[in-house]
Subunit: 475 residues, 2 copies
């Protein structure tokens, strides 16, 4: 096995190599940018879906599933939306030998699939809020270079769509989505920043967009999700009215919340190291790998104790793999480090005899567990590992932002930059040119940087800035 | 609410009405035959998926997911397969403004998506068996009349694909699939018959096909799944070779196992009655509905006891809904019978005081649960209900087959007919004409009919029959 490229100096090479070495995906499918979910990658994705499902259903959202194909006539109803997606959709034009009367779009996102139906489902204020979500695959005819999990043509996608009585209620749903995402990100041990995108970079058709961004080394960032407030921009063309308590007919205000398999890519990118993937327990296909250390010299066979430990951990709901293959223990350690298993438990003759296990977590912390209640001890070790992983990520996160007050400082930035910005688009584009990237927008909430009050705009230098902007190089 | 059409005399009208009244799907989507999974229907589907996942993973199959789009070049590699599907696939011909160099098929099934990759994954006999499955949506440009869950254009589909060392091992996998399906069907309380399809009706490209059929009233049957033995029919064109222990290169033998949302339709069709859907506990979105019976005359408010009961049942893993709305209890009973909730628990002042609950299951059995351990009592009531449901279905199943020995008996059949058949295709088609339906094929294993030895073929009357055939009118 060749060594992985250096993460800090050759990030994307490292990322591609680690995804391939850990066999999270198979990129050799005959349509470029459409990858195969291998069993190991699929199990991680299933765990990710569970995190999202638990997180969103706790807020009262209910699952639905709308068709994958959208008639051209519906797709074109909101003019900014169609402008934003027209160049990157796949068209179904034939069924069997017949040309379809109305061409169908393979959904790039589901606004135009859902909203004609919302107009039927919503009749009265008693039907509101309508909070529904689906986890489906979406399709984009991507022309940029594709990267597993980060930019693909068939995307595993989470999308919540809601209808609210008015703009304020919709803003409340945006805040509730932000809270829900905070919980989800916490269970992935991912620190992130919520950023209100500038107007020229919002979602096609949105009133405003809040993106969820993470730094991934240098000035690079990765958008891992977004929350949009649509106001009446879609409800008007789709005619989603309700009868208010006073009998009047009103348009609903809408929001959406989008996440995707990029979260899996983010976990690899943020936590991974030179040995391979590092999974948080929430996502790991196997949270614990038990390895019996068989030795010809030892008096006792540790395998029965190892098997019993596996069964006992499984019966308590943990995902456990027993690696009783013929390879040397060292080869197994190497393999499971590459695959990112949070905890490995070594059970040799001595451990079997004393009812203990030697635990080594993916960050290298070694512990002797037991004798006594091994299940609780394993749970405790996983919890400690998760906290340590989150702490490590937060240290790196805090070091990823620095302030800049002059435009010339932005060239060659080795962190994401926090800059005073007057809010004007012209100045925004000058900042983007200076950092050779994007103005991500204005952070919502605290930043891990000591800021003070923003001085004059970094670009025009005259107008007093009312806000901070984040300048970065998005992947 | 109007009454449902009569199930026994107007089955399909009844089916369509009950699916709509229980709001399991919304058929008003703008592409005919592509329906919307409503929240209630989706929850039932999610539970169905869980039954399938548990059942197949217990046999050592692992999940994968292959892309939804298949290049025309791969799709056309197996000649019978392409002949069987060519007229009913959707074609993606454009991406953005460009015409695609190679048109893409929206998968109708995934043989041709997976097998080029299997040729890369399988190298040696140590890679075998390869047992993988996926649950995805498939697409068929269906020209027949569509029916929710039974015949749709976007199909929620379960497909296992396996590679085995030789024909015998593949036959072993077929048997193991049959065993796995027996478990799945049991947890849906669905009796069924496994039928080896005649050669003219097997899956395009298969060596042989075993279908899983259920009777649904009169001579009607519904195919709810299938298991296929491909021999080397696909491994040859796709080049799936392995190195055997003796160093020789051999073609794998393949099998597949397919199930779909039809199982949900089957549950509605088999268990449903004039009051609505009847869910087995495994599938029910809510296994238990708790209804507090509030009365102005009663001394005590039962709502705290009802809420506590709900929480206690939920904490033990049951899916529970608290219906504390303003409707009269009678309206709630009616509603939850229509939606098929297995158990409703009524908690009035008297029950609250005594720590009991009045339980009425969906088959009408009334019990007083408690005082004492209500969780165990509820579990016991659900178990008894499930058994009663299965018993009822088996009684109807047994009455759905009768023997016929003369061709003239087949016209106007009010059951599925078991007939002696010589095995010749010409005779098969004569039987099909006589019953105005299909010869389903030869049953595998026991039938719930006293058969004896088959006499001469019912069609040609001369050749001694070696087997029984099932003649029916498939939906």
């Amino acid at each position: 096995m060749p060594e992985l490229p250096d993460k800090s100096s050759a990030f994307m090479d490292w990322y591609l190599a680690v995804v391939e070495a850990a066999n999270l995906t198979d990129k050799r499918y005959d349509v470029k940018g459409m990858n195969i979910w291998t069993p190991y990658g699929f199990l991680a994705r299933r765990n990710l879906d569970d995190v999202l499902i638990r997180g969103i259903e706790r807020t009262g959202s209910v699952p639905v599933e709308f068709p994958a194909l959208i008639p051209q006539t519906e797709f074109q109803k909101e003019k900014d939306h169609i402008k934003g997606f027209d160049a990157q959709v796949y068209w179904v034009t034939r069924g069997g030998d017949s040309t379809l009367d109305v061409p169908l779009v393979l959904r790039p996102t589901s606004e135009t699939a859902m909203y004609p139906t919302f107009a039927r489902w919503v009749r009265s204020h008693r039907d509101l809020p309508l909070n529904v979500y689906q986890i489906v695959n979406t399709f984009r005819y991507e022309t940029k270079t594709t990267r597993p999990f980060l930019r693909v043509r068939e995307i595993h996608f989470f999308e919540e769509h809601t209808c609210q009585v008015d703009e304020e209620a919709a803003s409340g749903r945006v805040r509730s989505n932000l809270d829900a995402f905070a919980e989800m990100a916490r269970s992935l041990a991912l620190p992130y920043v919520a950023v209100r995108r500038p107007d020229w970079d919002k979602f096609p058709g949105a009133h405003f967009s809040i993106a969820l961004d993470i730094p991934v080394g240098g000035a690079r960032t990765l958008q891992i999700g977004s929350i949009h407030h649509y106001r009446e921009n879609f409800s008007k063309p789709f005619g989603i009215y309700y009868e208010a308590a006073d009998g009047s007919q009103r348009l609903v205000h809408q929001t959406t919340f989008g996440l995707s398999e990029r979260l899996l890519g983010a976990v690899v990118a943020v936590h991974g190291d030179q040995k391979g993937v590092v999974f948080p327990p929430s996502l790991a296909p196997y949270q614990v790998v038990v390895i019996p250390i068989v030795s010809a010299k030892a008096s006792a066979d540790p395998r029965p104790a190892a098997t019993q430990l596996v069964e006992s951990l499984r019966s308590h709901g943990l995902r456990v793999h027993l690696d009783d293959g013929d390879e040397r223990p060292g080869a197994k350690y190497y393999h499971w480090e590459l695959l990112g298993a949070p905890l490995r438990l070594e059970v040799g003759a001595r451990e079997a005899e004393h009812g203990t296990a030697t635990s080594v977590d993916r960050l290298g912390t070694k512990r002797t567990l037991g004798p006594g209640d091994l299940v609780s001890a394993v749970r405790e070790a996983l919890r400690a590992y998760e906290l340590a992983l989150y702490d490590r990520a937060r240290v790196a996160f805090r070091a990823s932002f620095t302030k800049a007050e002059r435009l010339e400082e932005l060239a060659g930035s080795t962190t994401v930059r926090v800059v005073p910005w007057c809010g004007e688009e012209t100045c925004g584009h000058r900042i983007e040119t200076a950092i050779d990237g994007s103005l991500l927008g204005t952070p919502e909430g605290e930043l891990p940087v000591d800021l003070g009050t923003p001085g004059p705009c970094i670009a025009c230098g005259t107008t007093p800035s009312t806000r901070w902007g984040l300048a970065a190089q998005p992947l």
